[in-house]
Amino acid sequence: MTVIQEFEKHPLAKYLRAERFPHIWCEGCGDGIILHCFVKALDDLAVDIDKFVVVSGIGCIGRAAGYVKCDSFHTTHGRPIALATGIKLANPKLTVAVLSGDGDLFAIGGNHFIHAARRNVDLTVICSNNFNYGMTGGQSGPTTPLDSYTTTTPYGNIEHPFNLVHLAAAAGSVYVARWTVLHVRRLAESIKKALRKKGFKFIEVISPCPEIYGRRNKLGKAIDIMKLYRQISEIRHGYDPAKAEITREKIVVGEFIDIEKPTYGELLQKQFIKIQQKLSEG
């Protein structure tokens, strides 16, 4: 039995392009867990995989699109949300999820994020936040904590990071949550909830990049980072996202926003019916 044949016995392998495994991610990289929770959510929901699309950008986590066994698009860096918007609006029958990194979604892609959230396009966006650009070898990014070391902050970072959940809420997301990759069950549940809900949903996942960010900031091995998560995470559902901090001492996780607001698609549908009526009358 080849290792791939062995893998095909994994209950989630049917959602994955088995022939492309093992994946490229490093030992203890959180991206594998995110992918795992994601396909687990698909499995639990028994989604119609033929009508499901995964879009991602460029970055380590960006490779996820190439692992999920459904229609998928690995876009240019920063553009997954804009492209996903096109997919969703052109064919509303498709369920579209975006999996990408903190750099892809919030550095180069920040504008598309806030605008899709504002429009309340029906997308589920999952961000692997590893506090740096893993793929290009560990530069700082918009979530890198102050004073952290990266290859472009060799003396410590002087840029204040975004609070992604606050930004997402301010831009208009109807569902905003944060987990660490240690919270596998809650994360999977959160993804399920997001996939079932209509509108622009955002889940931030704090994810270790032991190989690069962890090493440079002396966080120990992957397992040490996971233990740190265990130690400093605090679940606070419904917390004001403005106050949901990520510091060396505390990571506030939970569901922060869960509201109802008409989606772009719904408002359009209403308008469409009105116009079609008018046209058929006149």
Binding site: F7, H10, P11, H36, V184, R185, A222, R230, Q231
Partner: protein, 92 residues
């Protein structure tokens, strides 16, 4: 804060499901998440060195695993999976 607060609490040592625990040894990269976070401490490093040069986990004893499934989901490399044991009733 303990793992049990973070993760779905499991009743200690109580068999949750009757499953077979499997590891795809050559997928394992040796992060040891499974070993560390198993709520019943059922796993340990095996002696075998796999293709990646690491020691994949193994069950400490055949009976150790209570089938909670946590290690499966936590494994970043899809190296672990549980299989329902066919035809067997609940062991309890």
């Amino acid at each position: 804060m303990s793992a049990s607060r973070l993760l779905t609490p499991v009743v200690k040592r109580k068999k949750l499901a009757d499953v077979e625990w499997n590891v795809i040894e050559d997928f394992c990269k040796g992060c040891s998440f499974c070993i560390e976070f198993c709520p019943v401490d059922a796993l340990e490093e095996s002696d075998r060195l796999n293709a990646k040069g690491v020691h994949p986990p193994k069950l400490k004893s055949e009976d150790a695993c209570i089938g909670c499934g946590l290690c499966e989901t936590l494994c970043p490399d899809f190296a672990i999976y549980l299989e329902k044991k066919e035809g067997k009733g609940d062991k309890e």
